[in-house]
Amino acid sequence: MREITIGQYIPGNSAIHRLDPRTKILITFAFMILLFVIDDFTGYVFPVAFIIAASILSGISVRYMVRGLRPLLVIILLTFILNLFLIKGRVIYEIGPLSITYEGLYQGTFMVLRLVLLIVGTSLLTLTTSPITLTDGIESLLKPFSKIGVPAHELAMMMTIALRFIPTLMEETDKIMKAQMARGADFSSGNIIKRAKSVVPILVPLFISAFRRADELAMAMESRCYRGGENRTRMKKLQMTWEDLAAFIATGVLAAGCLASRFLW
């Protein structure tokens, strides 16, 4: 579980790290949409250049970002293979009943590139933004929608608490597992059903303790005058600077390039 690198924050103080989280979230969304605007290979020049520029500015190498793709390799391969065999057209090669077509090869490569850019682009957001800052950004962006019933503050608070308790619960899981192992439990052998069964004695105490924690936390929050998002102030205010402006301009250039590649060429 600890080996997953997609989305793990790398602390730093680069220009990209310093950007307002709202800027980064909005740009990531724009980036995702623009990827779907592009309709041929030449169009990919723009997002690739964008990613490389961001990578240089953030000090996180493209190689590191690509390494994050590994857990998603199966999905990427599957996309490629399905496109390769399922699209009808000029046949290049035949294996039994299956045939690879020129169109399939083109479309498969095109889709894989889009997927890779999509993943690398979004992971750049989470690699350079701490979860707390990200949460603050989401809350701030959703705030205008709270009038139509989007629970912006509540969602952010839930995320904060989840982030706060993940390490605590992991530690506890570890402790319970060790305690069960000391009594002869075996978590690493046997078939799937046997292994699934051996997880029950971990989950039950974990859940009981999580509910107790939730109860106590609610009490502690109430004692500290927590009453939802109303009239609440924040110590840290989000502030956009000229760097954010520069980032938006760069995104504007990216958008112009992508649109031009589709509609002009």
Binding site: P131, I132, T160, I161, L163, R164, P167, T168, E171, R212, R213, E216, L217, M219, A220, M221, E222, S223, R224, C225, Y226, R227, N231, R232, T233, R234, M235, K236, K237
Partner: protein, 276 residues
């Protein structure tokens, strides 16, 4: 307006519970005091603590904080700001993923302006001596440090009263000492009124006044010296006395002429030396 917490004829019954958890409690906690509450398990200490800041309201009788009645829901946030609460498990009362943000949580809820929050947070961290941990995630701190973060979180709300419900119960001896020293400093230097619920008699000895609870009632009240000299009575309700007091008690039974109200090792030494 009286500057004190007052409980008058307070009874409390948990919903669905057959028995009263608190029965006719009358007491007064004056501003600036350091009060310790001791009592066996299930004697109602935590329940009483939760009545002091309006987490619970009395089933009968009333609790007032600086004259504000906890039954009046309009007072509730004012009361909780005045009477801060620290709980037993440090892990279950820290809300944020960074120390300074957690300390800021209370003042943020009170709607304090951002600049003022920052000032309060750093003042509070200084008082509990954790300034250098401001940017750390709380789960990397020791138990004693986490409990001091929780205390800082309360201080940042600028309360007059700080109620601590067994804050040292889950800590090792080092953490326990850190927390108790912090609590004593809050009382002596910051002038905060302290209500310390504890199972450790050595901690209760340091208070100005000790309240003993048993089966939902206050059974004794007085200075630590008055309380702990009643060794037999305390033992009858299942409480211990500080080790030195116990020793003095036994020496007296053996016929040695030592005082019965010894509370510290130094006093014991003073008493024993002339006898040698």
């Amino acid at each position: 307006m009286a500057a004190e917490i007052v409980a008058e004829g307070v009874c409390y019954q948990y919903p669905q519970a057959a028995d009263m958890a608190l029965k006719d409690i009358n007491l007064r906690i004056r501003k600036g005091e350091f009060v310790a509450i001791i009592g066996p398990n299930g004697s109602g200490k935590s329940t009483l603590a939760k009545l002091f800041n309006g987490l619970f309201v009395p089933t009968k009788g009333k609790v007032t904080v600086d004259g504000l009645d906890t039954r009046d829901r309009n007072n509730i946030w004012k009361i909780r700001q005045k009477a801060g609460m620290v709980f037993q498990n440090p892990d279950n009362q820290i809300v944020a993923t960074m120390v300074e943000e957690d300390v800021a949580f209370g003042p943020e809820n009170l709607g304090v302006p951002p600049e003022e929050i920052r000032k309060r947070v750093y003042e509070a961290l200084e008082i509990v001596e954790l300034t250098e941990f401001a940017q750390k995630p709380p789960h990397l701190l020791s138990g004693g440090q986490k409990q001091r973060v929780a205390i800082a979180g309360v201080i940042a709300m600028r309360p007059d009263y700080i109620i601590l419900d067994e804050p040292t119960a889950m800590l090792d001896p080092v953490g326990r000492k850190e927390v108790i020293n912090t609590v004593k400093r809050l009382n002596k230097e910051e002038g905060k009124t302290i209500v310390l619920i504890t199972h450790f008699m050595e901690e209760a000895v340091q208070a100005d006044r000790v309240i003993v609870m048993d089966k939902g009632r206050v059974v004794m009240m007085g200075t630590p010296r008055e309380i702990f000299s009643q060794v037999e009575e305390l033992k009858a309700i299942g409480l211990d006395v500080p080790q030195v007091t116990e020793l003095a008690h036994r020496l007296r039974r053996w016929g040695l002429k030592v005082r019965g109200d010894i509370l510290t090792i130094d006093e014991m030494v003073e008493c024993l030396c002339p006898l040698l």
